[in-house]
């Protein structure tokens, strides 16, 4: 090893000094762009930062105020836009219809830079133009599908944009087109494995060699289980829409931590009190975009808990590696790869007075997939005595939660007074998924 093929060897193997020079330049450019946005102009000048030239070293990044998810919501839709609107060629928004979405704008160069990062990831796993890539991630506003799609095309793989779901068709595509590489959430990959016997497909009927799995945390045990079942290599993928989407950090052929592309992102590890965590300690990942033109984001608190792996990687890439995510430092839930905040469900329910204010969400495993059940109470004041009205309420909640969060949830009705009350800072979430 050490001579593994790189998509962009010059930057992927750059020494630390060269990489840090690129980072400082990128940081200054990002602050310069940020100062053009209404949101950051106020935020940065308020913190005494009026010019990118104030940043002398990378360590000066500590003087920049942090950005949170709530900030992105406040800035929606154009408070973070740093380029004239005509230069924007795509937007990705988070799900949400109740006034809390977030948006990332991209210029043509932003999309190109993102695609380049994904191309690096794909080549780092040893895949190339001879591979057939089936992209089993959701397309559309969700960044998982499109992100890998364009990177794979750039490297020259044959791309099957199958998107998520429809297992019967996925298996047929895999067989008919000799798919060698798939991209999915780990739970979907397990789901497909569970379905294969009833679909009459054995792992030996397929041509799979690699799977890129991300979108939700999973354990080494799950990786090994999937690898053993399919007889493939599984590569861990990390990304978030605020930092483009997939392509932020990816495992190379060594499969020992994910290289995070440091020419594109400045990373910090943050302790809960805001102080920097020493190398090797688990902490929240904080990221700054270094290349993005349309939507610069400074010191973004990802909420994801990980740690930096020590030492160089045998593959020869110099970009540091992060361990698989071990959790969240907020109440965000990840259901079948989709991010959901309990507050989003609360907002849906608040718009439906007949749903009441007491509710809970129960999360379990149903086979390999996550199953969510929202529990609400039947209020005496709105009970009509008819099943039809109750079933209509269930359907309406389910539909609105789906349109708000992309999550399919069952709705369960309860007698009044059995769920925890609104005022009590109630425990809304019961997560029964086994922790590995």
């Amino acid at each position: 090893m050490g001579n593994e093929r790189c998509w962009n060897p010059e930057i992927e193997r750059a020494d630390r000094a060269a990489l840090e020079a690129v980072q400082l330049e990128g940081l200054r450019a990002t602050v310069r762009r940020a100062l053009r946005t209404p949101f950051y102009r106020e935020r940065l000048t308020g913190a005494g930062l009026t010019s990118a030239d104030d940043l002398r070293t990378l360590a000066d990044a500590r003087h920049i105020p942090e950005t949170t998810k709530a900030d992105l919501r406040v800035a929606y839709p154009e408070g973070l836009l740093a380029v004239p609107p005509e230069q924007v060629v795509r937007v990705h928004t988070s799900s949400g219809t109740t006034g809390t979405p977030t948006v990332i704008h991209h210029t043509r160069r932003d999309l190109d830079a993102w695609t380049e990062l994904v191309a690096r990831c794909i080549v780092a796993t040893g895949a190339g133009p001879a591979d057939v890539f089936q992209n089993m991630m959701t397309y559309g506003l969700f960044t998982g599908g499109l992100g890998l799609h364009y990177g794979a095309e750039r490297v020259g793989l044959m791309v099957i944009p199958s998107a998520a779901g429809n297992t019967t068709r996925q298996l047929r595509l895999m067989r008919d087109f000799h798919t060698t590489v798939v991209h999915a959430t780990p739970s979907y990959m397990l789901h497909v494995a569970h379905k294969m016997p009833s679909e009459g497909v054995a792992p030996g009927d397929l041509f799979l060699r690699k799977a890129y799995l991300g979108g939700e945390p999973y354990s080494e045990t799950t990786r090994r289980k999937i690898e053993a079942f399919y007889g493939i290599d599984v590569y861990n993928s990390y990304g978030l829409s605020e930092m483009n989407g997939p392509g932020v950090a990816f495992e190379c052929v060594c499969k020992d931590g994910m290289h995070i592309w440091e020419d594109a992102f400045l990373i910090e590890m943050r302790r809960p009190d805001g102080s920097p965590a020493p190398a090797g300690e688990e902490a929240e990942l904080v990221m700054t975009t270094l290349q993005r033109e349309a939507t610069p984001i400074l010191r973004y608190r990802t909420g994801d808990i990980t740690r930096l792996l020590p030492g160089p990687c045998p593959c020869g890439r110099t970009h540091r590696r992060i361990a698989r995510m071990t959790g969240r430092c907020d109440d965000m839930l990840i259901l079948n790869g989709v991010n959901v905040y309990p507050s989003q469900i609360e907002q849906v329910l608040m718009r439906l007075p007949e749903a009441g204010t007491n509710w809970q969400i129960l999360i379990e495993k149903a086979g390999a997939l996550d199953r969510a059940t929202i529990k609400i109470e039947v209020l005496p004041g709105v009970f009509t005595g008819e099943v039809k009205a109750l079933e209509a309420l269930k359907a309406r909640i389910s539909e609105q939660v789906r349109s708000e969060t992309l999550v399919r949830a069952a709705v369960e009705l309860h007698e009044p007074g059995v769920l925890p009350a609104f005022e009590l800072k109630a425990k809304r979430v019961t997560d029964l998924r086994p922790k590995e």
Partner: protein, 142 residues
């Protein structure tokens, strides 16, 4: 119009007992009861001697309960008694949502209770077919 009481209950052991105990403590007598299962929950449809008192008692115990109009019709307690009523409703194009019955005088008289979407049409059809519809007071004091 006569009424039954519809009660929302979770589908788990002990709920029927809680509902019926609440009625018993209030001195409300149950004439007939139907349990409709809907998976995670059920609907109890109860015919009682005093629907208003029943609803009050249930509300005091935190239950969601609602009075719903029904049509109570005397039928003969012998083979074909209910069939004749059903035929009258069929001829009159009355669609039944739910029906149940109980015997008042064995071998002679039974009462059939039906939920319909159009109670007036159902009453006309029943009376036109020679059936007697019970006034609510008579039903509750049987």
């Amino acid at each position: 119009m006569a009424e039954q009481v519809n009660v929302f209950v979770e589908n788990r052991p002990g709920r029927l007992a809680a509902v019926t105990r609440a009625l018993a403590d209030r001195g409300v007598n149950i004439r007939a009861v139907v349990v409709q299962d809907h998976g995670d929950y059920g609907l109890l449809k109860i015919l009682v001697t005093d629907p208003e008192a029943a609803c009050e008692a249930l509300a005091a115990h935190g239950f969601a309960a609602k009075r719903k109009p029904i049509l109570a019709v005397y039928v003969d307690d012998r083979p074909g008694g209910f069939a004749r009523l059903a035929e009258v409703f069929g001829t009159g194009a009355v669609n039944l949502l739910n029906a149940y019955g109980f015997v008042v005088n064995s071998g002679r008289t039974a009462v059939c209770c039906v939920e319909v979407s159009d109670p007036d049409a159902a009453r006309q059809a029943a009376e036109g077919g020679g059936f007697r519809v019970l006034p609510d007071g008579e039903l509750y004091s049987l």
